[in-house]
């Protein structure tokens, strides 16, 4: 199997996982789907380097390693721990129902492909699916963010969004200094860590984590 085919396959699975995440109601499953998606993504920098005709360098290896450490191990562990210690395990009655959100998600994937057709990539990338996969993941992440009620699911939505941007970053892997890549990963980790703390406080304060009940602050 060539590098191109493997990359295409990975990206298709990433899009399927996006849609899959819209169907599940168990919070823990959503987090596991996210971890799986990140694991798939961690191989892409290596594939991109191989496509350029060189052995995966230090840069690609560090990004892959950092992604696995943070997005596959640390962040899911933190989120699963929060879910395990609470009473709430399921997303119940989201703003947009599960079936509707999958249909909407599929529509977003179509939209992403349509947009990509109008945006020519300047240089031949490792896979033509990179831009549409990235856009679909970003849009589905946003959809998860706005349509789900539990704080944890919203955090996962943010992480999916971030994964989409990561895919897009593959087009630029040579241009971004390693320092900046590490900074981005670190910021992401600290961000999720703080979000987890806030979720924990929300649960302790309100005995729930439904963010739509956070509506005390508004114009009188």
């Amino acid at each position: 199997m060539s590098v191109e085919t493997a990359t295409d396959l990975v990206l298709v699975m990433v899009i399927l996982l996006d849609l899959g995440m819209l169907t599940v109601s168990r919070l823990a499953t959503t987090v596991r789907f996210f971890a799986l998606q990140s694991l798939l993504l961690a191989f892409l920098p290596l594939a991109a380097a191989t496509f350029e005709g060189q052995a995966p360098g230090m840069h690609a290896l560090v990004i892959a390693g950092g992604t696995i450490t943070l997005k596959v191990v640390l962040i899911p562990t933190i989120l699963l721990r929060i879910i395990r210690t609470g009473e709430i395990h399921r997303e119940i009655e989201p703003f947009i129902g599960f079936t509707a959100s999958v249909l909407l998600g599929a529509a977003l994937v179509v939209v992403s492909f349509a947009i990509t057709a109008r945006l020519p990539v300047p240089r031949e990338p490792v896979s033509n699916l990179i831009v549409p996969a990235s856009l679909s993941t970003v849009l589905i992440g946003l959809l998860t963010l706005v349509s789900r009620l539990k704080a944890i699911t919203q955090v996962v939505g943010f992480l999916i969004l971030e994964n989409g941007i990561f895919i897009f970053g593959l087009l630029l892997i040579e241009q971004t200094p390693l320092l900046v890549e590490m900074g981005i990963l670190l910021d992401l980790f600290v961000g999720v860590f703080i979000m987890a703390i806030v979720v924990y406080h929300i649960r302790r304060e309100f005995d729930h984590m439904d963010t739509h009940l956070l509506d005390e602050l508004r114009e009188a």
Binding site: P122, E162, G164, Q175, V180, I194, L214
Partner: protein, 499 residues
């Protein structure tokens, strides 16, 4: 990277670390003041020998960043003094709080100094992470809600901005050899950038950083966060953090105007700006919470800032002037809001009356600050807003001018009708109110009011008389936004200017 740049980042981090380990509250507060004062001293010293930025520098003091850095540093120095008077024992954890405050200063300094788009993003995200615990200062349900909204909206906004930066980066790949993503490199090679990707990048960056800056319709976290955060933190966010996000937008604008997309950028900047001012006008009228009211005036002033940038060199100059006075004004406004809150124990405008008879100094200062906020002469915002009106007139953008003036007038009426009774009205007779005033030691009140007086005085002074050095700094920054090529050429001609 030079010593100055290193010091600007290291000083706040070092004192922040000190705040974590020092044993007593008094020592930690002195570390806060010492840290921000040292930072200010380094910034002032850096003006004596300005170093030119080389094309491949990741960090450096270019005219725009240097100006914003100075503004942010002044605000932090005054706020740290105010905080000494304001603070009470019931903090989340004073160590963490003070360390986060200095961390925010370090992150914002890095935003101003960053010449590389990736680094710029990392710094701004770090700033919003450092600010999150500051908003959660008071604990409890309301603060938690504000913190969650701030955190989530800003994270998503900044993530979209990252996508925008990637789009800008992608526009360079058609050129041939990979270009490094520094502002100067991009400006220099601007003609060969792919316009489609640059446009998408600009829009995503404007939306993303605009969320952080608080441009409508992405401002909804702002009244909550500013209303629930302790007033000194709100001052830092409204006067400092917004400028950091503004710098990020301006960096992308620099690349766009070098690439000949100035008209495209102007259209969207003006559209977002006018919409922000209009939104602020709608929510200011009839608002019954003076801290939320102050937050909406911040939305308004962010709108004024970006409208100015959309109106060429003259508009950019006015916008830089406005950035300076916005910092001074938002600082003073939130300092006084904190004082009022201590004096009356409520946020509700309808319950706060007759400040001037209970504390004449605070009343006069509040009146002055309100006039400054609304852009009455001789305060600086009058001149910056007038500059924007003149710039719009000289470009023949009559619709922009008309909308700008009308919405500003509505905000003026809204703020004044709400707040004048707070200054003058008849003080309430309830005994509980009087009881709350006596508890504050005099020195605390003195510190709080003098911090506000310093900022208000600066705003007044710089409105009446503008020294040449200030004018030159503002002008250079404005030139570098509207005509970034000149700066890039200068850097190319003299690559080795390191005295």
């Amino acid at each position: 990277m030079t010593l100055t740049v290193l010091l600007l980042l290291a000083v706040p981090l070092l004192f922040g670390a000190l705040c974590l380990v020092l044993p007593t509250s008094g020592l930690r507060l002195s570390a806060l003041v010492a840290g921000s004062m040292t930072h200010l001293a380094v910034v002032i010293r850096s003006w004596t020998s300005v170093e030119r930025v080389a094309a491949d520098d990741l960090l450096g003091t270019d005219p725009l960043g240097h100006l914003m850095l100075t503004l942010i540093s002044v605000l932090f120095a005054v706020t740290s003094v105010y905080f000494v008077g304001y603070h009470r024992k019931r903090l989340i954890s004073q160590r963490v709080f003070l360390a986060c405050m200095l961390g925010l200063l370090a992150a914002l300094s890095m935003v101003c100094l960053s010449q590389h788009f990736g680094l710029l993003w990392v710094a701004l995200e770090a700033a919003s992470l450092a600010a999150t615990p500051l908003i959660y200062f008071r604990l409890g349900a309301r603060a938690l809600e504000a913190t969650w909204k701030f955190l989530l909206m800003n994270s998503v906004g900044v993530a979209l901005a990252l996508l925008g930066i990637f789009c800008v980066a992608l526009s360079t790949t058609g050129v041939g050899e990979p270009v490094s993503l520094t502002v100067l490199e991009l400006v220099r090679g601007a003609e060969s950038l792919d316009p489609v990707w640059l446009r998408s990048g600009f829009l995503l960056a404007l939306v993303g950083f605009g969320t952080k800056m608080g441009l409508a319709p992405l401002h909804s976290w702002k009244p909550d966060a500013y209303g629930e955060a302790p007033p000194p933190v709100a001052a830092l966010l409204a006067g400092g953090m917004t400028l950091g996000a503004f710098v990020c937008i301006l960096r992308v604008v620099q690349v766009c105007s070098a690439a000949g997309l100035a008209e495209f950028a102007s259209f969207w900047l003006i559209a977002f700006g006018l919409f922000s001012i209009a939104t602020a006008a709608v929510f200011v009228v009839g608002n019954n919470d003076y801290r939320r009211l102050a937050a909406y005036t911040s939305v308004e002033h962010m709108g004024v800032l970006v409208v100015g940038i959309g109106l060429g060199v003259a508009g950019s100059y006015a916008s830089m002037l406005h950035a300076m006075h916005n910092m001074l004004n938002k600082g003073a406004l939130f300092f006084l809001a904190g004082f009022l809150w201590r004096l009356h124990g409520t946020n509700r405008i309808s319950l706060v009356r007759g400040t001037i008879s209970r504390s004449p100094v605070a009343g006069v200062l509040l009146l002055g600050t309100l006039c400054a906020t609304c852009g009455l002469p001789p305060f600086g915002m009058f001149f910056s807003e007038l500059g924007i009106i003149l710039a719009a007139a000289s470009q023949g953008q009559w619709w922009v001018l008309a909308l700008f003036v009308t919405t500003l007038a509505v905000v003026f009426v809204g703020v004044m009708t709400a707040m004048l009774p707070v200054v003058f009205g008849d003080p309430p007779q309830a005994e509980s109110m009087i009881a709350t005033t006596g508890t504050e030691p005099r020195w605390r009140r003195g510190v709080m009011l003098s911090a506000a007086a310093v900022l208000l005085g600066l705003g007044f002074g710089l409105g009446v008389y503008q020294p040449d050095s200030v004018r030159r700094a503002l002008d250079e920054a404005a030139q570098s936004i509207a005509r970034p090529q000149a700066q890039a050429i200068a850097a190319l001609e003299q690559p080795e200017v390191h005295p």
